[in-house]
């Protein structure tokens, strides 16, 4: 029962990812059909661009879902260490235990993909009929389900499987000694592998940044530059995710100072920094979410800026394009909100899981004389610190990626002004701060309540 409950957030994430992918490709198909039916725009290039954009969005959504799922699995396994240690003690092999986790990952992926396909197709049908009714799209017979939709479905199943495999790598590090209650020192292998990870992360970031720059330059002559940029973005971001245990503590140390010097605030700040693995696992989901939203918004804003200048340079070429741009922006705005939900689910889930797993530590604080209010405050400050740090990192990364994306995709449009400055919508930052505040509150309600409801004695008895 417990196992199933642990997997539900991952099923939800896989469902959202595949719904996103299916709806996206389906809607793109509909838009292409609309454009093809309208000779006035004559948009062979526009259809090409739309398809490129759809693929970009799909790759990003699947990637986000995979990272969030990998982190969820890693968090679940951190909480199951003791059981795994026991199984290892009785004679389970580490590889066998990992295969078991990966098998449940495959099932999660399949369940999510099936549910997501249904939701995605429904969403696409509803959006299309709304757009037709509102006059945004011409009234022709649209094909909602196309063979290309198999792509996101397969991608979600495979990446969820892969994510569960990657997220379960810590199973290999569980020592059967842990089940005996004896203290286990970190082995040299673990320390070494952490150092190796930092080096790999650094290489990926540098390589990814270089490709990103190349994408921007190629983008000045062809919209295909965006494909190089996407590869660069994925590589550099993977580097940042891998190196999160080095990046996040820096941001956390900065934000830890914001919450005063009271005992709960100090403990919260220490907690977040002392376990870099745990806090980076918790924050990575949110960093991705905020990066994503910022990236889409900045890309959209920069796109408008480029289009605006291009339209001024060659008014006759861009005469009929305003309405189409509006439709595109409307649809994509909905999709932006959708992908933000994926990241938010991951964040809430990871934070509550990781705090629920610390029942014993919170019980100790209660036994030492912390009031229920102080424990709640500590949990709240901790989640606030994690959220604010993620917000800062995400805003910076998102601005860079969004600008690079817009620049490489639209830089070659006829009449485009070459390199433009990144356009940052200020309203978006306010919205993100407000949404983060809600996230902080939501993600700390359940664990804080649980932490104060359980009696200190019962909490200390938990293994």
């Amino acid at each position: 029962m417990n196992r199933l409950k642990e997997q539900l957030p991952s099923v939800l994430v896989a469902t959202l990812s595949s719904a996103f992918g299916v709806a996206l490709l389906s809607v793109t198909g509909v838009l292409s059909q609309a454009i093809a039916s309208d000779d006035a725009v004559g948009g062979g290039t526009v259809v090409l661009m739309l398809s490129a954009v759809a693929m970009v969005f799909l790759a990003i959504a699947v990637y986000v879902g995979a990272v969030v799922t990998a982190n969820t699995f890693a968090t679940i396994i951190a909480g199951r260490r003791r059981t795994i240690a026991l199984l290892r003690l009785i004679g389970a092999s580490a590889a066998g235990e990992r295969r078991r986790v990966a098998r449940s990952g495959l099932l999660v992926g399949i369940a999510g993909a099936v549910l997501g396909t249904i939701v995605g197709l429904a969403l696409s049908a509803v959006l299309t009929s709304i757009a037709v009714a509102g006059g945004l799209l011409p009234r022709i017979g649209y094909e909602i389900a196309e063979p290309v939709l198999l792509l996101p479905i397969a991608a979600v199943v495979l990446t969820t499987w892969l994510a569960s495999w990657l997220g379960s790598r810590s199973v290999l590090a569980v020592s059967p000694m842990e089940a005996t209650g004896a203290a286990v020192e970190p082995t040299r292998d673990e320390v070494d592998s952490r150092r190796g990870r930092t080096v790999v992360a650094l290489v990926l970031v540098v390589l990814g940044a270089a490709l990103l720059a190349l994408g921007v330059l190629v983008g000045l002559v062809s919209p295909l530059g965006v494909l190089i940029g996407v590869v660069g973005g994925l590589i550099s971001f993977t580097g940042i995710v891998l190196g999160a245990h080095r990046v996040m503590p820096v941001a956390l140390r900065l934000t830890g100072r914001l919450f005063g010097r009271s005992a709960p605030a100090r403990l919260a700040a220490e907690n977040a920094v002392r376990y870099p693995e745990r806090s980076s696992r918790t924050t990575v989901g949110l960093v991705i979410g905020i990066t994503l939203i910022t990236m889409f918004a900045v890309a959209m804003e920069s796109y408008r800026a480029i289009l605006h200048e291009a339209a001024q340079a060659e008014p006759e070429l861009y005469a009929g394009v305003d309405q189409l741009v509006d439709a595109t922006v409307t649809v994509f705005t909905v999709l932006i909100g959708f992908s933000a939900v994926i990241a938010a689910v991951g964040m809430v889930n990871n934070l509550s899981l990781s705090i629920l797993q610390r029942t014993r530590e919170l019980g100790l604080l209660r036994a030492l004389g912390f009031t229920g209010g102080q424990v709640r405050l500590m949990v709240l400050v901790e989640s606030a610190q994690l959220t604010v740090a993620s917000l800062l990192v995400g805003l910076v990364l998102g601005t860079v990626y969004g600008w690079a994306g817009a620049q490489s995709l639209f830089g070659s449009m006829s009449g485009a002004p070459g390199i433009v400055l990144p356009a940052v919508p200020l309203g978006l930052i306010g919205l993100l701060v407000a949404a983060s505040a809600v996230l902080i509150a939501v993600s700390s309600i359940a664990p804080a309540r649980r932490a104060t409801v359980v009696s200190p004695v019962a909490a200390l008895a938990v293994d």
Partner: protein, 265 residues
């Protein structure tokens, strides 16, 4: 259990474990943690043998090295120097995969904190070693498991989860799991540490019965003289060395010896 007759050279001498009736043995075993000035010596050249079909208690105060000794003998922890055998298999220096199979098939564990898998019911927990081995118990083994379930009084609890059981019942499930594969040796680490004294006595009587009636070899680590008084043989450890090896003794005698040990330390 198949009698192993192979000869093996130990420290230059021929040594036949089966003939000596030893189910496990360590020779000049040392284990230290840390390095330089912070070195802590947990075991200091220990050489002992656990005899076939006997209930052996390993006693000693906290920090005497008794848990470390058990961990090395069970293949959970590595030794700094010296060798450990299970039967005539040398386990020091074995790779993790081999140790895993060894633990699965030839060793059983009973712990202070029961250590049952919370998501499995009683039957699931008892059959876990077979499941991990990727096989079902044969007819012979099934009959043995049913007999264990009856003699441990678990028959009407088979569908319960660990959290629905009392401490004593949980420990009986753990004992059934440890005995189910008829391992060469069962390690029990303070098996009565979390139980009240009456339930604790019942558990000790069950272990003694398993050794006497089924010929099960058991090594129990404890610091409780009452627990040790149920054993056939008692080994005393202090500061990482074996200081006494005596036959069955009463709790009073064991307590007296431990107090003397304190006084001379």
């Amino acid at each position: 259990m198949a009698v192993r007759q192979r000869l093996r050279s130990v420290d230059g001498m021929a040594f036949n474990h089966a003939e000596a009736g030893l189910v496990a043995r360590v020779s000049r075993l040392s284990k230290s943690y840390g390095s330089g000035q912070n070195t802590v010596i947990a075991l200091d050249g220990v050489s002992i043998g656990i005899r076939q079909a006997e209930f052996t208690a390993i006693m000693g105060p906290s920090g005497s090295g008794k848990s470390t000794l058990m961990h090395v003998m069970a293949g959970l922890d590595s030794a700094t120097s010296g060798t450990a055998w299970l039967g005539d298999t040398e386990i020091t220096g074995m790779a993790d995969a081999q140790l895993t199979v060894l633990r699965r098939r030839r060793v059983g564990f009973v712990f202070q904190s029961f250590n049952l898998v919370p998501t499995l019911d009683v039957r699931g927990n008892i059959l876990l070693p077979f499941e991990l081995d990727g096989r079902r118990p044969g007819p012979d083994e099934s009959a043995w498991i049913e007999r264990l379930i009856d003699s441990l009084g678990l028959r009407d609890r088979l569908g319960h989860r660990p959290h629905e059981l009392s401490g004593g019942q949980q420990q009986r499930v753990a004992i059934a799991r440890a005995l189910a594969t008829r391992p060469d040796l069962v390690f029990a680490d303070e098996p009565t540490g979390n139980l009240d004294s009456r339930t604790g006595r019942e558990v000790l009587a069950l272990l003694a019965t398993a050794s006497r009636e089924y010929g099960q070899s058991i090594a129990m680590v404890t610091h409780d003289p009452v627990a040790a008084s149920h054993a056939d043989r008692i080994l005393f450890l202090a500061d990482g060395r074996v200081v006494e090896d005596r036959e069955r003794s009463s709790a009073a005698e064991i307590s007296r010896f431990m107090l003397e040990m304190e006084a001379t330390a």
